[in-house]
């Protein structure tokens, strides 16, 4: 007996949880049609053409009651995302109706999908390759439009094409080295000296470093920029936090029954996902008007990529403020001079005289909203414009495996240079160059079999 893939049928809500809009319940597997036909009132979906959308109602077969008015997309294998039969139920949304439909689907034959399982199937069924499936996973986890775009670009192969360009350049050098070795009497190929190899390795290393630089951004896009708001009680931390949160920019909105603190951690500031550290702490200290625990602030600062230090412009600097300035000395920070709507007793100039001219200082009145625009601009500016070339702005390395491979590739180039310094011959030094090429190929999933030889024969006219 020949066993087939014996995958069971899985289902999940494939839209982010939230109020409003529509929600989609996706079913994939051999029994997808069987499942939907048990709970769908409308046409017989097994009889409709593939890739059509069909109007009808989801009913609860137990009591025959209508659950929701729906549109059902019917996609028959193999031209589907998973290469299996796929049904997508577009319901009116609302967490309760959506959950009810999912429950019915699960009751009538499907199993709850594990996170990423549709993608895993797409991969196992040969629909997408490894780097694409990684991108899909990143896409699913993407927290802002910007990170969505980074993931989408990777899916389209922007990263792949950059890596392939790098590999092609390495291949050119390698092919030349190989011609020198296999056709030593051939006078037409440039003799690759260690000098030439050294220049090439340095150049490639810079290009890889540039990609790696984007990974810091990429990581932030995926995981959020850890940000803490610090300041002594009553300087306006809470209102700043609320301002950031209440602009409809929170990526994950409130879903009843879930923990508020966890969900509210992320806010989207002009495409930069901020992961707010210790929001509970901010509320607590402001609510209770108690002396902040310096330890708690220190912890928050340590685990942050960005610190928003809030000072009260209507009061002179206190010992506590000075302590906080000292704590944030080495942190990337924005100093917010708040409450500028009141009489000013503290100026930007005075703070600059303490922290130096290079720090970003803005004045706001969180209550009256003036200046918060500036804060947002500054956050976006800090994030997008530092150390990143605009040409590469659309390609960001976000995947941990890719980052690790890029690091290894760069190390291999460093070994090339070490070898040259140690006076090693070209054909040995190129081992590390070739390793760099292999490592980059692992990112794109390209095998190298034969490529080198094809290159060799297409470029050089070889005789003896």
């Amino acid at each position: 007996m020949a066993t087939t893939t014996d995958f069971d049928t899985i289902a999940a809500i494939s839209t982010p949880p939230g109020e409003g809009g529509i929600a989609i319940v996706r079913i994939s597997g051999d029994e997808a049609f069987e499942v939907i036909n048990k709970i769908f009132k409308g046409k017989d979906l097994t009889q409709v053409p593939s890739h059509t959308i069909n109007y009808g109602h989801i009913i609860d077969p137990d009591n025959g009651s209508d659950v929701d008015e729906v549109m059902v997309s019917v996609m028959k294998a193999p031209k589907t995302y998973t290469k299996e039969d796929v049904i997508e139920i577009n319901c009116h949304g609302g967490i309760i109706a959506t959950n009810k439909i999912l429950q019915l689907v699960l009751t009538y034959g499907a199993r709850m999908a594990e996170p990423g399982e549709f993608t895993k199937r797409a991969f196992l069924n040969g629909r997408i390759d490894l780097s694409q499936s990684e991108a899909v996973m990143d896409l699913i986890e993407a927290k802002t439009d910007r990170s969505m775009k980074a993931a989408l670009n990777q899916l389209d192969g922007n990263l792949s094409s950059l890596i392939r360009k790098l590999r092609q350049d390495i291949l050119d050098v390698l092919a030349n080295v190989e011609v020198n070795i296999d056709y030593p009497e051939y006078d037409d190929a440039e003799v690759v000296t260690t000098n030439l190899l050294s220049d090439k390795a340095k150049e490639l290393s810079i290009r890889i470093q540039k990609l790696l630089d984007t990974s810091k951004q990429g990581k932030v896009l995926r995981d959020g920029l850890a940000t803490s708001i610090v300041g002594r009680p009553n300087v306006g931390k809470s209102s700043l936090l609320n301002h950031l949160l209440h602009q409809d920019k929170a990526i994950v909105t409130d879903v009843p029954g879930t923990t508020r603190d966890v969900l509210e951690e992320y806010v989207n500031v002009r495409g930069v996902p901020l992961k707010l550290v210790d929001t509970a702490g901010i509320r607590e200290t402001d609510d209770k008007v108690e002396k902040i625990g310096v330890d708690r602030s220190r912890k928050a600062i340590q685990s942050s990529d960005l610190v928003l230090l809030v000072l009260n412009a209507s009061e002179h600097l206190t010992e506590e403020d000075k302590e906080l300035i000292e704590l944030t000395k080495n942190a990337k920070k924005i100093i917010i001079l708040n409450k500028t709507d009141l009489e000013q007793k503290l100026t930007s100039e005075e703070i600059k005289s303490i922290v130096g001219n290079d720090e970003s200082i803005i004045t706001t009145s969180a209550i009256k909203d003036n200046g918060t625009e500036k804060l947002e601009e500054m956050i976006a500016h800090l994030f997008f414009n530092e150390g990143i070339e605009s040409s590469q702005n659309d390609v960001m390395v976000t995947n941990a495996r890719h980052i690790s491979l890029l690091h290894q590739a760069k190390d291999a180039l460093a070994s090339v240079l070490d070898g040259i310094d140690a006076g090693m011959p070209v054909d040995l030094v190129q081992m590390d160059m070739r390793r760099c090429w292999d490592l980059l190929g692992e990112i794109t999933g390209d095998s190298y079999n034969g490529e080198l030889l094809d290159q060799l024969f297409s470029q050089f006219c070889l005789g003896k």
């Binding site: 007996m1 020949a2 066993t3 087939t4 893939t5 014996d6 290469k83 991969f123 196992l124 069924n125 040969g126 390759d129 490894l130 190989e178 020198n180 070795i181 296999d182 056709y183 030593p184 009497e185 051939y186 006078d187 037409d188 070898g419 140690a422 006076g423 090693m424 011959p425 070209v426 054909d427 040995l428 081992m431 590390d432 390793r435 692992e442 999933g445 390209d446 095998s447 079999n449 034969g450 080198l452 030889l453 060799l456 024969f457 006219c461 070889l462 005789g463 003896k464």
Partner: protein, 641 residues
């Protein structure tokens, strides 16, 4: 062609053997000698006794990768190395400015002496019978090969058969508008054997190769060319040849370098309508690495000249081989081309170049032992397997001969892996990837070339050769002594210190380094680019017994390049892990949905035995490999029986 009056009467039983080898080119000679030396009663059949170990193309042996194969053949007890050492007319080490992994020994051969010497060796081999005869068909019963039948009706029976038919297999020579059925160098072709193989179910492909014209050396103006003499430094292919036998440079013959020019190119371009390469007459696929001159001129139109090498074909002839001028242009055009070239303005062409098409057994039909998957106890080797080159042929012949011999003796097969020998790379490439053009070994085909060096073939393979009975006990003892001397000296260098004496520091500073403050381990000191073993001896005590130069060579290479050798060995370990992942024999690829169609077809065709082998198949992508691994691990393989 032949005519048989009575099919019935002509047939007769001609004898029983353990192993029969069909064809006595470079593959067949090695196969027959190996099988016989292992103790098998062996028959070697050839179309023409004058063609034993004949060189129909360039008169040379070795070169990059190929030279290492010759050393490997020698370490396994084969004949090619010894035979070229007896008959070379020039010896050169190539790539001396590069690392030890890619140094390449190449000899110019006296092609007639080479043939005579090999023929005599075969004639003198006790278990071996050399006979002229054309094999028309195989005796196959129940899918097992039992022998061969020749055109004279002789039925020879054997336990195993090795086919090394070379370009004789349905060979067809093409010169301009002329084409005729022929083996190499106008010898008789083997037509019926190909037909028989097809009847047996083999899939044959058509390949093409070519050879340049030859000219009379007395009509060459050598002063218009550049001399390329042999080396003064002593080097041989065989580990058995003694240094004293090396030819002085003055006793070696030179090669001569010249170039094509715009006139030559114009002659060719003006006559492309008569070039079989472009008129569609040639159907076979030719090698990219050894293109014909007309091909080069079309593909690389902006090049104003191409190198040519004039190579003597032997001591007792004035015939010169015009290397890199391979062509199948009409004879008339070939003459004009030659006369346009510096040094050849007055040259008399003695024979024209030609293209030859021939049949090849698509090598996916072979197991990693070179036994065919189609017929049991039948082996193929050499150009029949889709390769080109004497060395590639000889290496395969030896390998197939060993395996045919082992099978006849009822023993386990002999496998060489990619990390053990170039022969292993060659075998694996053929049976795993197949080939779409005549296959040539290149150093870049070997992932572990730093381990597969010219200098360490004996260390890699002598043990195996001895175990097979192909290396004498005497030679084996010598080998063990060398190996021990290397180990001992390396150990000593790892314990001795070079002291920061005034002498040492003067030497170090002379080479731009800082003076030593403390003593340095001798092995570490040796890693400096400007330090050789001999300089080391100036600063430390010599070993009790002076070391031979081959021992010193090993000590130097293994010390100086230790870091890279270690990296290569780490790669081998990775390979071994993949090799350990076996693919079940009864796997049903059609049951694995996720694998791409092309990959599935390739996997079904080639039937790889390990994940490592599967990963080397072109068209099988890493994602296919991941899926395959997942399925095997999950035990989701079809268990049909």
């Amino acid at each position: 062609m032949s005519e048989i009056v009575s099919e019935e009467n002509i047939k007769y039983d001609a004898g029983n053997y353990d192993v029969i080898v069909v064809g006595a080119g470079h593959a067949g000679c090695e196969a027959a000698l190996a099988a016989a030396r292992m103790g098998n009663n062996t028959l070697l059949l050839t179309i023409n006794l004058e063609m034993v170990a004949f060189m129909p193309c360039n008169p040379s042996v070795g070169g990059p990768a190929k030279g290492i194969v010759v050393r490997e053949i020698d370490a396994l007890g084969g004949e090619m190395g010894r035979n070229i050492d007896k008959t070379y007319i020039q010896m050169r080490m190539l790539n001396t400015g590069k690392g030890p992994a890619v140094r390449a020994l190449r000899a110019q051969a006296d092609k007639h002496a080479y043939h005579r010497s090999m023929k005599k060796t075969i004639e003198e081999e006790p278990n071996l019978t050399l006979r002229q005869g054309i094999v028309d068909s195989l005796i196959v019963e129940d899918g097992e090969c039992k022998g061969v039948v020749t055109y004279t009706g002789a039925r020879y029976y054997s336990k195993t058969v090795v086919i090394c038919a070379g370009t004789a297999a349905r060979g067809r020579i093409i010169i301009g508008e002329l084409r005729y059925s022929s083996g190499p160098n106008n010898s008789q072709p083997a037509i019926k054997l190909s037909e028989n193989l097809e009847e047996l179910g083999f899939k044959l492909k058509r390949f093409k190769t070519g050879t340049p014209p030859r000219v009379n050396g007395t009509t060459i103006d050598f002063d218009e060319t550049e001399e390329q003499p042999g080396d003064a430094e002593v080097n041989h292919f065989s580990y058995e040849t003694s240094d004293e036998d090396y030819l002085d440079v003055k006793n070696q013959l030179s090669c001569w370098l010249t170039y094509t020019n715009e006139t030559t190119h114009k002659i060719i371009r003006d006559n492309l309508d008569r070039a079989p390469m472009f008129t569609g007459v040639i159907e076979g696929v030719g090698p990219r690495y050894c293109p014909s001159i007309e091909d080069k001129i079309v593909r690389f139109a902006d090049k104003s000249r191409h190198q040519l090498f004039l190579e003597p074909e032997g001591r007792d002839t004035d015939e010169y081989y015009v290397d890199a001028l391979s062509t199948s242009m009409p004879e008339e055009i070939q003459k004009k081309m030659i006369r346009s070239i510096a040094g050849l303005h007055h040259a008399e062409m003695m024979r024209p170049g030609y293209a030859i098409e021939y049949d090849v057994v698509d090598p996916y039909q072979l197991k990693p032992t070179f036994e065919t998957k189609v017929v049991k106890n039948l082996y193929t080797a050499g150009q029949t397997n889709g390769t080109s080159g004497y060395e590639e042929a000889a290496g395969q012949g030896l390998y197939a001969g060993i395996n045919a011999g082992l099978r006849a003796m009822g023993k386990e097969p002999f496998i060489l892996k990619r990390n053990e020998a170039y022969i292993g790379v060659l075998v694996d490439d053929l049976v795993t990837k197949g080939t779409n053009e005549p296959y040539r070994l290149l150093t870049s085909r070997a992932e572990y070339r730093l381990l597969l060096r010219n200098d360490n073939a004996d260390i890699r393979l002598t043990e195996k050769g001895h175990a097979l009975g192909l290396i004498s006990d005497e030679r084996y003892q010598k080998f063990l002594a060398k190996k021990e001397a290397v180990e001992k000296e390396m150990n000593r260098l790892n314990h001795l210190r070079i002291k920061p004496s005034a002498e040492v520091n003067a030497f170090v500073q002379e080479h731009g380094d800082k003076p030593l403050k403390d003593g340095v381990i001798a092995a570490v000191f040796l890693r400096r680019p400007y330090v050789t073993y001999h300089t080391l001896l100036k600063f430390m005590e010599a070993p009790k017994k002076p070391l031979g130069r081959r021992v010193i060579e090993q000590v130097e290479i293994r010390t100086k390049y230790a870091g890279y050798i270690k990296k290569a060995e780490a790669n081998v370990e990775r390979l071994k892990k993949m090799e350990a992942k076996k693919i079940p024999l009864n796997i049903d690829y059609s049951a694995i949905d996720g694998i791409a169609t092309e990959a599935r077809q390739k996997l079904e065709k080639i039937q790889p035995r390990t994940i490592a082998q599967a990963s080397r198949i072109s068209g099988v992508n890493p994602s296919d490999i991941s899926i395959l691994s997942v399925y095997i691990q999950q035990g989701r393989i079809a268990k049909t029986k």
